[in-house]
Structures are given as C-alpha cells and as structure tokens.
Point group: C2
Chain length 768, copies 2
C-alpha cells in the first residue's frame, strides 16, 4: 500500500513571546519619516500624514517579523499622494507598505517601488498592499524605467492598481540576477494592471520575469487573480523569462498582446481567462516557446489574433538556439482549455522562417518544430463555423492530439483524429462566458493528468470531470468581472465624464483664449472668417476645433516663425480639426509635436479640411508617439512635404505612430513624399505600425523626392493601399511594399505615376 | 519567532493488508524466465539458476509495491553470468535486480541495463543492486552504447561494479527526454566505477546526466558515495548536462578527467575527494560552466592538471551562448574546499579564446567572464610552495574572494586580499589525506552559508567550524579508501597476478607454438638464429618476445603476403619486442592492427630492435586504438613508411593512439614520413594524443613524402620534439607544430633537412 495518510501534529516547543503591540508613529515630513524608519522595530506602524508628499525618495528598511511586521501606511488609504520626482525603496524583512498613491510625477531612479535599497539591502518577505501608481510616467517615452522591481524573495504586490505607463520598460520587473533573488516565490496577486497604452516599439510589457541572461534561474513567482485590462503596450503583456513561474486565474481583458513564454521552462498557465474582441486582431492568448510548460484550464473568448497573437501560438525554435533567441518547444502540455469564437485558435510552428536564410543569420532561422507536445481534452466552440481551427507553418509531427473536440467542421491542413467534430451544446452565461450544457466526458489520461484537479473557476473535477476549461455546475456570478476584487480598494479607474462644452469664437483672440480655458472635451466652434495666428497653438488635451458647417468654413492663416507649427501637439493632446481651411506661408508646418516631454501619446483627426502652403503637413519629432492619425475627406496641397513620422531612426524597433488612416482625400502638388512612416530594426516584439491609404487622389506630387518613393513605409508592418487614383506623379515608385507581411496594392488607378514595388524580405538591422 | 518545530505523527488510518510472502520462482532458462516475469505479482522473487545465461535479452516488467517489490535475482550473487549478446530491460514499478554478472559479451541494443523496455514501459522506483558489468564492450570501439541507461523516476543503481568499457558512449546515461523522466531523483550510490581505459576521442564519459538538448530539465539525480577509479575514458569523468543534480561524498581516485558541469545549472558538488598523482597532468578536479553551482567541502590532493583539467577550472562563456556551447559562469559558490599539493589549483576564464576569432566562428569565442561568483573559506596547502595558485586567462572582475588561506607566497596575477598567506599546519593522516592541526576560524558568511552544516566527512560544522573541507576531529579511518564499501559485495577487481612464465624457443615452429600456448605475461626468449615467419603472428595478450641479450640478437624474417604484418595486434594485445632484428620483404608491415574487433586498446613496446625492409613500420587501422606505443634505442631503416596512426579520418575527434614515445632511435632511408599521427575535428573533449620524439637521429628520410612533412602530427595536442639530429632529409618541414598548444621544437640539430614550422591556430572542421 503506497498511499499513507499523514497527520502532522504541529507542536510549538517554545512559547511565543507575547505579541507586543508596537508603537504607532505619525510622520508629517521627510525628516520625521527618516527618523521613524531609523528607529522602527518589529511591530511598529509608521503613518504618513494625509496630503501631498512631493519629491520624496523614501527608503523603508528594518527588520519586522512574520507576526510583527513593520508597517508604513497612509493615514487614510489614497489620501497620501506621492508626487513629483519620487520613489520608494524597500529593504529588510517583513516590511509592509499600504495605501500610498503615486501620481503627478515620475521616478528619479530605475523604479517607482523597488524591493531593494541597494545590492546589499534587499527586501525579503515584504509586502506592498492597496497602493496605486497612476500615470507616473517619465517625461520622455524612451527613458526606461520599471514601476515595480522585485528583488529578494517572498515579496508580494497585492491589491494594487497600476495604470498608464507610457514610457519604455516593463511596468513590473522581477529581477533574478543573483542567488538571493532566485526561488523567490514572489506573489503578484489581486492587482489591477492597465490600461497600458500602445507604446509604438518594444519594451512595453506589463510584467517581465527574468531576462534572457537569467532565464535559466528558477523563479517560482506566482501571478494569480489579477485583472489585466487593456494592457496594449506591446505584443507581450507578460514576458516570462525564467523557470517555474505560475500564472493562475488571471483575467486578460481586451489586451493587445499575449502571455508569452519567451524564455524559461516548466511554467504553469492554469485557469486564466482571455477575452478579446470582434474588431481586433491584436488581442492574443498564449505564445509558447521552450520546454515543459503546462497550459491547462484556460478559457479564450473571441481571440482573433494571428501568428504571434493567436489564442495558442506554438513557435518553431532555432536549433541549438542562442540564449536570447528561440528554444524549441518540447514536452509542453496543453489540456483542458476552451476556445470560444476564436479565429484559428491553434497555430503551430509560428515563426517558421526557413525561407529567409538569405536575409537572416543562421541563429534567426526557426526550423526546430515542437516535439513531445501533447494537446488533449480541449474544446473549440464556434457559433459560426471556423473551418480552419488549426494553422501550421511547418510540418506538425511532434504534437500528439488526443480527445479534443470541436463543434464545427475542421478543414485544416492538420487533420488529426485527436480533434473530433461533435455536436457540443453551450449555454451563454454572460457576454463572454459560454459554459457546456453537459460535460464532455471522453477524456485522455496523459502523464500526470490526474494532478489536474480543478477547472478554470477552481471547481473540483473530481465529481464530474469533462473536457475543456469548465466543468459543471458553474456559479452564475462567474460570468461577471467584479472589478472591485482587483486593485486598491479605494481606487476607481472609471474615467471622469468629460463635459462636452462648446465655445463659439469669432476672432483670433477669442480662439486663443478659448483654448486656454478649454478643458478636456471642449469643442471650439469657429465662425466663418479669417483667423490670423502668429504663434503655435498648443494642444495638450482633447480639443475639437471646427467650423459649424462644411460650407461655411473658417480660414486659419498661420504666420508664425519658420519651422513652427500651427498646432503644436503635446503629450496627451487630442485634436480634431473639422471643416477648416488651414494655410501657411510655405516654411512652417500645419502640425508638429513638441520636441520634448512627449511622455504620452497624442491623437490627430482631420476632417473636411483643406491644408495648403506649408513646409510639412505633420512633423513628428523623435520620442513622440501618435496613437491614431486620421485624415479624411480633406485636401492637402502646395506643401513641400506630407506627413513625417520617421524620426525614430535609431533602428531599435520604435516608431512614431500606431495607426495612420488617410482616406477619401486629395494630395496635390506636394513636392516630395506625401508620407514618410518608418520603423527600423529587426524586432518581432513590435507588430506595428498600421497604415490605411484608401480612396485618395494624389496628383502632381513627389517631383522633388530624392528616394523616388511617394509613400514611404519602410519597416511598417501593416500597410493597405487601395482604390486610390495616382495621377501624374513624377516618381519611380508609389510605394515599396513588404511581401512577407502580405502587403499588396489593391485596385489603384495609376496614370503616369511610377509603380508599386514589392520586396519579399526586408533587410533590417539586427537589434541584439 | 520563525522557526517552528514540527512533529509529524504519522498515523495509518487503514491497516495494511498483512504483508503476503510472495512466491519464489526459480528459473533455469529463458522460457521459464519469461513465463515467471509474465506471472509475477508484487512480492514475488524470481531466481535465476546459477550458471551461464548466454545470448539472453531479459525483459523484466511488472508492478511491485514499495513494501513488496518484485525481485529478479541470481541464485548466488555473482554465479549467474549473463554472457554473449545479451541485455536487460526493466519497465514497471518497484522491480529489483540483484547479483547478476555481465561478462564475455556485449549488448545488441543501446544499453546493457536499461530502465525502460520501450517508450511506454518505463521503470519507476526500480533498483539494480549488487550487479557487475565487466568488459561487456562492443567489438568495435566506435560502436556506441551505454551500459546503463536511466529513464523514468526514482530508480537506483546501488553497490554495483562497472568496469572496462572501451567503446564509444558514456558508461551510464541518465536520459531526460520527456516529462516522465525529469525530476527523477535517481540514486547512483555506493558503486565502484572503473577502470575505464583511455578511449582516444570523445564519448568516453563514465556518467552523463542529460544532454545539451535536455539541459534545461530539472534532473535531481543524486550521485553519492561512489568510487570512481581510473576512469580515464576522456576529459570528462562525469558530464553534467542538466539541472539540480547532486554529487556527494564520491571519491575520484586517479581519474584522468574532471567532474564537468558542462550544461545545466544549480548543481551541488559537496564532500567529494579528488586524488591525483605526482606524475600526471591529466587528472583533474571540477570544471565549472553555467549558473548557480554550489561547490563545497571538496578535498583535492595532488591534482596537477592545467586549464580544462585544473583542480578548479572556471570557464569563460560564450556571450548569449548557443544551447550546446558554453554559458557564462554566474552565481557560482566555491566554499570550504581544501587543495593540498595541487599545481595552480584555481584557474579562471579557462577557455578564453578571444584571440581566435579569425579561425573560429563567433559562437565559439568565449569572452564572457565569470560573474557574481564567490570563492570563500577555502584552504590551499602546499608542502612545497606553489607561487602561482591562481591562473587567469582573462580579467578576473566578477569573482569575490573572501577568507581564503594559503600557506605559501602567492605571486599570481590575481592577488586578492581574499587569499591570505598564513602559517597553516597540517597533519598527515594517510598517503593522500592531510588534515588541519587546528581549525582556521576566520570565516566569511556568504549568502546561505549557514546551510553548509557538514564537512567532507559529514562531520558537523556546528561545534567547531573552520575554513577548508575538514573540521576537527577526524576519525583515523578516513584516510583509507575501504574498497569493500563500493560495488558488488562479491566482486573484487584485484587483478589475478600474472604468472610471468618464460618459454625459450629456437625455431619458427617453437615460436608459433609458444605463442599459442602463452598466457598473459608470458616471455618468449629466442635463441640466436634466423626465424623465418610466413604468416602473421597474432598478439592478443601480454607477450614479450626477446633475445636474451642484445649482443646475440635473433633475426625474424617475415615472408608473408603483401600488406600483412609480422605481428598482428589484436584487441588487448600487449607486445614487447626486445633485442630482435626484424626484416621484411619490402611490401609487408612490421606491425599492424586487426582491421576489425579492436574493442580494446593494444600496447606496443620496441626496445633495442632493428626493423628494416618493410612497407610500413606500423599500420594502424581505423577503429584501432593504442594506449602506448614506444620505440626505444632501436633502428628503423629501408622502409617505405614509418608509423601510421592516421586512419581516424572522420574528423570526429577520434585518434589512433594516446601515447607515442620514440626515443634514442635511428631512422634511416624511410622514404616517406616517419610518423603520421592524426586527430581531426574541432573537439575539446579530447586533449590527446601525446608524442615524445626525443634524442633520435633521422637521416635520408622523407624523399618521397608528398606532403613535404617528415613527422606529421596534425591535430595532436601534446607534441614534444627535442634533442634530435635531422640529417640530409630532403623535405620541406620536419614538422608543423601547433602554436596554441605551446608546441616548440627544442635543441634539435638540423642539417640539410628543411625546418620546423609553427601554426598558431589550427583550422579544424567543426564537429557540431
């Protein structure tokens, strides 16, 4: 008989010292705080007085005990704001921080909250609870930091809200450099992460555990019960780069990225929910690289991503891969997951690029297929058939498919007996949650599958086991995301409703005055007439400037200095320009970004507007980033250049705009290119930008363009140029498209205007 | 209070079924055995009848339990011999094998004892105890096998003796390919491994755990209390290629290699003893690569190896190394070790080769220095000063030296405050064991050093801790290796004493008859006279053929077929030819190896002998291997070629002879080269062969040598050519030496004989 029952009777030989009630010390300023920290002993509680603490660098150290930690807390949670150039560093044992609110500032160091003070004073068994970091972002988006750095062991971030990081660097980094930091069993629990806006380049992860240099380390970090909401920073929401981490029961709500097992092995992804969107191909699921991962009990809804961003993306590896590239997938188990209304949810040998050996070095060629992988007991359910549930970019010969079920016909290249079409009934429990009507009980018993004891909702599988993530019965409440369960209890991310105020103006002075007074959401309506503007108008909030109707358009004449713009876009600026005639004097710009402090993205929307007589239409400086630029139904004429979004020229994968839409418009007599949109550097973590150039007329443009290209899109991943009319443009190429990314011109009319060229594989500068 | 004491009271709720005494089934042949295995249940014992079991492939399967294993054992341990083409495969749970003796044969499969039957029938919790595998080697040394393959989990090899593997492949392989085999906690305990003879190429490890493809796997194999004796197969006695393995309390007795942490991380090497030799630079200690290894409580005595083979060799890594090359050393801890009479025991950045970027690809350049490494609380003790205890091949900037002590002056490039010269007294306890007279108590308290609780002899450090591997008091018995504690209890490796019989002969017939009758060690004394030999004399044992004195030398005239040798060296042949005149008819060879079945090494010693009128002096075929070839005080003349040891031409690192000594001899009128000694393929696991060419005269040789080289030594690592006289040899080069290996001609006299050339870096074919 092998199974013994052990009853452990715990006796405590030495009686505990009677728990002392520590001192409570209220502090009002930095000096008092320093002194309080210096004198604190186990059990003490240091209370920061309510109010603004500006430009503080808090070092919280000491030796608490498990039963008597030293606590540093806000007098009232959320009422102590840490602002300005500030940070918090923690080093010692059993220290707890509660209730702080970081906002209106940024850190002067590498991190906002750091679980170490220096290499010798490291946190162990310390906690940060009920805190918020909001928009505490560096002034320059390319200045890198992390908002929370984990060092040491057994530290915890619990019930915190972390939102709005727009600069470079993972929001949270777990560092493993040194034996003191491995086997750390850190707890990242019950937090609310996001939104994290699109970054326009790499290094926009929300969580990174380890790095390629320490990817052999056992980390054992537990990431559980967190809500990741619209974490759109880059293609990796979470970048796992070490061993033995666990991701349990998290919700990924409409995040434009994936949970990526980038480096490291033997991780567990259990019981997570990935919710996508009908309209987005950017929201992904789990991307698998390396060895021994266990992916079970996960629920995927409307994940429509492809390749790197598919619901389950299993990559090809580089044979004998260098430490920082792609190891082969081996010994991975994908079992008991449910995929509802996803698009081609299973993609294998993603990243296979054997055809690119002439443009890439050998250590970039991913030809090692997944091996010794098991995919079993999963359910794919589609309300509308998905004929190709499996996509394979290479032979699938190392994957064992067993007892997977789909409710629609499978016409994939990979047709496995292990994926059977069957009539599966599902019941709708909420917008995103569908549960089986009956448990599907044909189960495959893989190696150690007996250890999979619970479903996605932590219900026991013992009584009534079934395929897929969900076993019956399911509590009705499970279909609702209870936001209050995540993040700081006192903090709400519900945006304050914008008051859509309208100010009517009839003169230059009124216009500038209105802009000064405007709050976010203000609409400034211009009466018909001429507005002579002599200095740039700064836009750093959400502003609409428009003539009331298209037939009575106001004219804005700009006479500012050379090389200045009419509208100067600042961080967070969001300008809609509608029904306006905008004129320059040839040597200024219609729009430009600030040259510095572009710490968050701007947006620019131009409608029914005529822009003429400028040097550049848009001049975006380095380190600036537009989320969306759209020009619709407008005319651009008699300018030297069009839109320049090409100043991120370090070839590090960064770029100046995520989405550029130019539609139903007319370009005439723009002397060089009409658009220069650039991303440089070979980097797969950026899958942008995006250009739609549709239904425009371009005439007599490009005559002074030295490159010979009218629409420059070097390195931009998604480019769609369709139904345009190109007429008498004396250039060589309308655009040079990237064949590998399936860029194809569609239904354009070309008259005396050069041609489209397609380069299959782009030569790019290696970044590492 | 953090430390609780747990008292676990184990209660058994369900009473055990009364332990049934299983059946005992004696079997006399394979059919009975098959049937017995088929019917065996937990608790059964199957007994193999004493005697020879020939050509058997035993499949031992079943389901035993912890308390009632199924046992397969010899009627009398050691009296059941498994011979011929045989193997044993084990698959199931709680199976035990005891007392078997594998000899006089080889396996038809990949392994002699395999802890799995096939990929589905794997052993778990199985044991092989008290068994012996002796000389069970493949007939061709290049045919690869393993003698013991571990698969599954929790299997054990205990008290076994494994000796004499001379073919390719690690003696023991722990396989990790698949989740069923990781976290295996195999026990390799109390065994006696070796001798394993020199192999002359790679793949001669005694133990390999994992491989580069599975090196990310956690293995947790425990290798404890074994005796490794003269395991000389190759430069790695043990090749660790996975994570979390432990090497505890083993003795490495005069093994020509090292315990190498080749791949994998976080291994523990604790309490091992490495015993070297005054006369060998081949015996090594521990070679460190990768991350997080803990090297404590080890005792090194007379380890005189350099570079790869130094007592502590810490390598440089390749930045972002490919999976099968060299990762940087990080987070390694070397503490509480003792080095007695070693030569430059600490070598750092071993393998640094930044100067070789023109002959090696980038992924071979080891420029990443050890980082975050701690070397503390160690003792270096020398009876005669060792002025350079530390050798560094690169900057040492990532190693923290703390509280290390040496009893002699340190003139190393690396002079660290952390290595202090101090008067350390040591007491001799045995030939190889020196213990401190008093504990040296200045200790550095590194991270988690408090967990180092015992010394090399498992004595507690609690009472009187000290630096070095040994704390006082030490039991006197510790200075003796009790061989009976290791390996099968019934087996002794003490060689049967050779009876050095002398047979005197006076005619050809008597000579061939004597050879037939000879046992190993026989001396055949030839009376003066002419012995006309028409067919090759086969030498497959230890034989001396000699004239009694040098002045009355017998003449052996060989008239065999073209291309046959006078003496045909077979596997294990060991010929000493002394005081003989040996003549051919121009188209035969003086010596040659067999073309097949050279499963173990031969030796050839020629003294005071004249060899003339042959095609080749020695013709060594592919797959043959000589341990030592020596020619001393002899004359070689009028031959077409000299010694050919160049048939291992696959460029896989193999070569045909380990040691070649040619001394005090004369070569005259050898028409092409006098020696062709070759090793091909870039491979660092072979650090041979070895040529000493000293005090010879070479005259009128090489005139028909097409390569223009008189002594060809391509790829041979150790080449010493000194005090020779080269006279009138019409060649271009006497030899082309390898500068990187410090090959330099010394004190040779060259007259009309070409010159020495030195190539610093050899271009070699990559093997992987």
């Amino acid at each position: 008989m092998r199974n013994l029952l052990f009853f452990c009777v715990v006796l405590t030989l030495f009686s505990f010292g009677k728990k002392e009630i520590g001192n409570t010390i209220k502090v009002n300023n930095q000096e008092e705080l320093k002194s309080a920290v210096k004198n604190a002993v186990a059990g003490d509680e240091i209370i920061l007085a309510n109010g603004v603490w500006k430009d503080v660098q808090i070092k919280f150290y000491g030796k608490g005990t498990k039963d008597a930690p030293i606590v540093l807390r806000a007098e009232t949670s959320g009422k102590v704001t840490i602002e300005g150039v500030s940070d918090l560093k923690i080093g010692g044992t059993y220290l707890e921080v509660r209730g702080l609110y970081f906002k209106n500032g940024y850190t002067p160091s590498n991190s906002v909250i750091d679980f170490r003070i220096d290499s010798k004073t490291i946190a162990n068994n310390c906690k940060v609870l009920d805190c918020v970091i909001e928009d505490f972002t560096q002034l320059n988006r390319n200045k890198e930091d992390h908002w929370i750095e984990f060092w040491g062991r057994h530290n915890q971030l619990d019930h915190c809200s972390v939102t709005g990081k727009s600069n470079s660097g993972p929001t949270i980094l777990v560092a493993l450099k040194g034996n003191e930091h491995i086997n750390n069993y850190h707890q990242i629990t019950n937090n609310h992460f996001g939104p994290r806006p699109r970054k326009g380049g790499p290094h926009g992860e929300t969580l990174q555990i380890g790095d390629s240099n320490t990817s052999m380390a056992p980390s054992y970090t537990n990431v559980a019960n967190n809500l990741f909401e619209r974490c759109d920073g880059e293609v990796e929401i979470i970048s796992n780069k070490s061993n033995n981490n666990e991701y349990r029961n998290n919700i990924f709500y409409k995040c434009e990225g994936s949970l990526v097992l980038r480096h490291g092995n033997y991780c567990t992804i259990d019981g997570n929910i990935f919710i996508g969107d009908d309209n987005s191909e950017f929201m992904g699921g789990i991307r698998v690289i390396n060895t021994g991962h266990l992916i079970i009990n996960n629920y995927f809804y409307k994940i429509k991503g492809k390749e790197f961003r598919s619901a389950l993306a299993v990559m090809n590896g580089v044979p004998k891969s260098p430490q920082n590239r792609y190891n082969q997938v081996t010994d991975a188990v994908v079992a008991y997951n449910t995929f509802v209304d996803c698009k081609t949810p299973w993609q294998f040998s993603v990243g296979a690029n054997m055809d690119k050996s002439d443009v890439l070095p050998a250590q970039e060629i991913r030809s090692a297929r997944p091996d010794r992988m098991i995919v079993a007991n999963n359910i794919i359910f589609n309300h509308q058939g998905d004929e190709f549930p499996i996509k394979a970019y290479d032979k699938v010969d190392g994957v064992l498919f067993k007892n997977n079920f789909i409710n629609s016909v499978n016409k994939s290249d990979v047709k496995s007996d292990g994926l059977k079409t069957q009539n599966l009934a599902m019941t709708k429990l909420s917008d995103w949650l569908y549960i089986p009507t009956v448990d599907q009980k044909e189960l495959y018993a893989g190696f150690e599958f007996e250890n999979i004891k619970k479903d996605v909702f932590s219900n026991s599988r013992a009584a009534a086991n079934g395929t897929g993530a969900i076993v019956l019965p399911v509590d009705k409440s499970k279909g609702t995301i209870n936001k209050k369960a995540y993040g700081a209890h006192w903090f709400s991310d519900e945006a304050v409703k914008e008051t859509s105020k309208t100010i009517r103006v009839a003169s230059e002075n009124e216009l500038t005055e209105a802009l000064d007074k405007a709050t976010s959401g203000t609409v400034i309506e211009l009466k018909k007439g001429i507005y002579k503007i002599a200095a740039s108008l700064t836009i750093d909030k959400k502003i609409t400037i428009k003539s009331k109707d298209q037939k009575k358009r106001a004219t804005v004449e700009y006479s500012g200095q050379a090389n200045t713009p009419t509208f100067l876009m600042g961080a967070g600026g969001n300008l809609t320009l509608e029904n306006i005639i905008l004129k320059g004097e040839k040597n200024q710009h219609a729009f430009a970004t600030k040259e510095k402090e572009m710490f968050s993205a701007y947006n620019l929307k131009v409608k029914n507007t005529e822009i003429s007589d400028f040097d550049g239409v848009l001049n975006a400086y380095k380190d600036s980033f537009a989320d969306t630029i759209s020009i619709d139904n407008s005319v651009i004429k008699n300018c030297k250049r069009g839109l320049k979004l090409a100043d991120e020229n370090d070839d590090l994968g960064e770029y100046n705009a995520e989405f550029v839409y130019i539609t139903n418009s007319k370009f005439e007599n723009v002397q060089s290119n009409i658009l220069d949109y650039y991303r440089g550097g070979y980097d797969e973590s950026t899958i942008g930008g995006n250009l739609v150039f549709h239904n425009n007329t371009v005439a007599n443009c490009g005559k002074e363009e030295k490159s010979g290209i009218l629409i420059k899109t070097q390195g931009i991943v998604n480019v769609a140029i369709s139904k345009n009319n190109f007429l008498n443009n004396p250039i060589k190429y309308i655009a040079v498209l990237w064949g590998e990314k399936n860029q194809q011109p569609k239904e354009n009319t070309i008259t005396n205007s050069g041609e489209f060229k397609t380069e299959q594989n782009l030569k790019q500068k290696m970044m590492y």
